[in-house]
């Protein structure tokens, strides 16, 4: 593929073989008029897992993705700007007290979604977080038992062959990670030294890149370009794990297919999808719709799918679609080490401390995980320009110390707030679809987390021997927007991911998360999607599901 507009690849009975430079695998194909069992919108952490689970259960599945179908070996360059092609950079309006910077670390536009460029951090939710309201006194409860989620974590960790520590220091005992931990890089050892000096635990971070061969994927070679797309396939993204599984099980994947609207009939049930592919508008009939477009595109699609029985947008009878959007506080502290660190070597986050996720003696709700960092040069320079206003000689001087830099960054929990939300603006994009408006503002607790974390990380870095410390702030990830809950009055979908007001509409992405937790969300999204997949299978077995003839 060259720069510019990529080609539709998954078509005419074949899809790219992601383990090759130019090969293909066969793909079952459906006609638009064919009434498939499931049409899935999005093929990332939520949709990709769902496509595999449903296809393996014997359902006919068509999965749509707005992005291209890449072959990492041939399509990914070791160049930061070129790899911007992995982000969702369509026009969006971001406002509120603390407008979110949208793009790299909270979106993805490719088959495989944002997992193609995620940081691979694979942490589980703390069990108590599923009862955040009743056990810890903040946020919302999940309508799901933590043990059910932990079984689902087991499943997806094995599917991604997560390389994690032999013993994980926090939380209840868990089974062994499928693969052993990687060698922690110098940047991770800075975190380790800081943690040991302050008397808090640390561990090699469980990450989704191979520490031993797996099938046609080689083990990680520690190039460090993980965040802009791994070009060796060592990274276990949805693109090279669940998507090949889905295809082999008979799912069809349609790349470069932007779903604009879900059609509903007079009774309020979904009947099909209007989508744009190959320069024309098309319509796919389906018995069930699963939406997995993440926290902006999922609400956007529902809000844009008003029908005779859904006046204010699909599944939006209570006006909850788009609300309780969350991010993660992504504040960081950076410093200079005397030794060479060369933090670009290896995956960016190889060491973690979840101390403040599991320690409850603190003056704020929620928690945060601290991870070691290894930003690539352009990324780091950009963050210094944005946060410090560094420029010219000053920026150059700072970047000259790049090989001696170390940093710590948090993934900090943000409280759900109904006023943080996605709505549709009056503006339209190139396809004529309403541009989403994202309104966000931190609450007092969110700010307290950032303050606490920056103070603690500064102590850690100093204890590890860093000097010339400076702080940056930011956000990462998105969660919420279509929360799952206990009743139609408090949520958009039930514990099965099924919309309260549309019984053949399901949501299985990060937007259903009622709380964000203090860990990277990808593993939780995958686990929740796998769990919902099992539930759909169980419902079908009981005859409580519409199926194609």
């Amino acid at each position: 593929m060259t720069r510019g507009i990529p080609d539709v690849r998954a078509t005419e009975g074949r899809a790219p073989d992601v383990f090759s430079r130019d090969g293909w695998v066969p793909m079952r194909s459906h006609r638009d008029g064919e009434d498939v069992d499931f049409a899935i919108v999005g093929t990332g952490a939520g949709g990709g897992v769902m496509a595999a689970k449903l296809a393996e259960a014997g359902f006919s599945v068509v999965a749509f993705d707005a992005g291209p179908f890449f072959r990492p070996l041939a399509d990914f360059a070791s160049e930061e700007r070129e790899q911007d092609k992995l982000y969702w950079t369509d026009e969006r309006i971001s406002d509120g007290r603390d407008p979110i910077e949208l793009g790299s670390n909270n979106s993805g536009r490719a088959v495989g979604g944002s997992t193609v460029h995620f940081q691979m951090v694979a942490l589980r939710f703390r069990p108590e977080w599923f009862l955040a309201r009743s056990a810890l006194g903040y946020g919302r409860d999940w309508p799901v038992d933590w043990r059910e989620m932990w079984r689902a974590y087991d499943e997806v960790e094995d599917a991604l062959k997560i390389a994690g520590p032999v013993r994980y220091p926090w939380g209840p005992r868990r089974g062994r990670y499928p693969y052993r931990p990687h060698e922690v890089n110098a940047s991770g050892l800075v975190l380790a030294r800081g943690a040991e000096a302050l008397g808090v635990g640390w561990a090699p971070c469980p990450i989704a890149t191979l520490s031993a061969p797996r099938g046609r994927a080689p083990p990680c070679v520690y190039r460090g370009f993980c965040k802009i797309g791994c070009s060796t396939n060592a990274k276990q993204s949805i693109l090279n794990t669940y998507i090949p599984r889905a295809l082999a099980a008979g799912a069809e994947v349609r790349d470069l297919a932007m779903v604009a609207r879900i059609e509903t009939d007079a009774s309020g049930r979904a009947t099909g999808l209007h989508y744009h592919r190959g320069g024309e508008w098309r319509f796919q009939q389906t018995r069930n719709v699963v939406v997995a477009g993440y926290s902006i595109e999922t609400p956007r699609l529902l809000l844009n799918s008003a029908g005779p029985a859904h006046r204010h947008g699909l599944a939006n009878a209570e006006g909850l679609v788009g609300r309780e959007l969350m991010v993660h506080v992504n504040d960081a502290v950076w410093g200079t080490m005397e030794d060479e660190i060369r933090w670009y070597k290896g995956p960016p986050s190889m060491a973690v401390t979840e101390h403040w996720n599991y320690e409850d003696r603190k003056d704020f709700h929620g928690g945060y995980a601290i991870m070691s960092q290894g930003p690539l040069p352009t990324d780091f320079a950009t963050s210094m320009v944005g946060n410090l206003g560094a420029f010219g000689m000053d920026l150059r001087r700072r970047m000259a110390g790049y090989n001696h830099m170390a940093g710590l960054k948090i993934v900090g929990e943000v409280m759900p707030d109904p006023e943080n939300r996605v709505t549709l603006s009056d503006e339209t994009d190139a396809l004529g679809l309403p541009v989403p408006r994202i309104t966000f503002g931190y609450g007092e607790n969110d700010r307290a987390i950032g303050r606490h974390a920056r103070g603690f990380m500064s102590e850690m870095l100093r204890a590890a021997g860093a000097t010339d410390l400076f702080e940056t702030t930011g956000t990462a990830h998105l969660m919420g927007g279509c929360p799952m809950g206990f009743s139609p009055q408090d949520s958009v979908v039930d514990a099965d991911g099924r919309a309260w007001s549309c019984d053949n509409l399901w949501i299985c992405d990060g937007s259903v998360m009622p709380t964000g937790g203090g860990v990277n969300p990808s593993l939780t999204i995958m686990a929740n999607s796998a769990r919902i997949g099992h539930r759909i299978r169980a419902l079908a077995a009981r005859g409580e599901l519409a199926r194609a003839a």
Partner: protein, 305 residues
């Protein structure tokens, strides 16, 4: 288009693994076949086998330590000791005529000492890292067990030097055979421990990775049993298992060569992959220990006459 279901293992890998397994079994059967008893002085044969074992061990250490210490950039000068010491031990085992007996004894005693010191250097490296004696350090810091192979090479070299002076008979052969067996048992178990750690690090992603943690302890048991009561059946079992272990050591190198191919770039990228993939010279150290063990078994056999 050929339908291709994604699988955890490529078909070639499965086929080659199967082939290798069949080869192992067939090889084991071949080496353990019944043969008419040969009338040969067992003592000289023992000396030869112990020396071959010493050579293999020293060669394995030379190649492995050179590669690994090169990978570590020889950042500490003492890291040169391992290849130099094992190199000298290799020469003394392969070409004993090049050195005086005293020199050979000194070289092999040096290898024993260097191996023991190596444990301490590696331990120091581990303890200096965050996490100290954690799994992470055991996996990736200087390997605690590895210098043991050099100690074994030195011990086997010393034993070979001792045996070449004359052929022990009767009670003396029994004593020598028992000491040799003890060394063999320790060598087999120590090597197994290290392989278990490293194959665990590799998550036993290929089932054949279990072979070197199952077979050598069985051989060690049989050797210990035969040393305790060296009757014909026990010695026979010990020999079969030692020969199988020796064959497995060689097969292991082939498996590791396959492992190189499974890394990014495969053999075309050999300059990197020889360093990061499973070490080619490591498995033959099993062969070395097993050969020395066979030498000990011959001594026990001699004592029985």
């Amino acid at each position: 288009m050929r339908p291709r279901v994604p699988s955890e293992r490529s078909r070639r890998a499965v086929a080659l693994t199967a082939l290798a397994s069949v080869g192992l079994v067939a090889g084991a059967a071949w080496v353990s076949r019944r043969r008419p008893p040969r009338r040969r002085p067992e003592g000289s044969r023992a000396a030869r086998q112990v020396r071959q074992g010493a050579a293999l061990l020293a060669g394995s250490v030379l190649a492995d330590s050179t590669m690994e210490h090169y990978r570590g950039g020889f950042h500490n000068r003492t890291m040169f000791v391992a290849p130099v010491s094992s190199g000298l031990a290799l020469v003394s085992a392969l070409a004993p005529g090049m050195m005086t007996r005293r020199a050979r004894q000194a070289v092999n005693a040096g290898a024993v000492g260097a191996g023991l010191a190596g444990h301490l250097f590696h331990l120091r490296n581990v303890l200096r890292r965050p996490g100290a004696l954690s799994w992470e350090s055991m996996f990736y810091a200087a390997p605690l067990g590895a210098p043991g192979a050099m100690t074994l090479a030195g011990l086997a070299g010393l034993a070979a030097t001792r045996l070449e002076t004359g052929q022990p008979r009767g009670a003396e052969a029994l004593r020598a055979g028992r000491i040799g067996s003890l060394g063999t048992v320790a060598g087999l178990l120590g090597t197994t421990a290290e392989v278990a750690l490293l194959h665990f690090r590799g998550a036993f992603h290929n089932p054949m990775m279990f072979a070197p943690v199952i077979l050598p302890p069985l051989a060690a048991l049989a050797v210990a049993d035969a040393a305790r009561r060296p009757d014909r059946a026990r010695l026979r079992l010990a020999r079969i298992l030692l020969r199988a272990t020796a064959a497995m050591g060689l097969a292991g190198a082939a498996f590791h060569a396959w492992g190189v191919h499974r890394n990014m770039g495969g053999w075309r990228n050999w300059r990197q992959n020889l360093q990061v993939a499973p070490p080619l010279p490591a498995p033959p150290s099993f062969t070395g220990v097993a050969l020395a063990g066979l030498g000990a078994a011959h001594l026990l056999e001699e004592a029985r006459r």
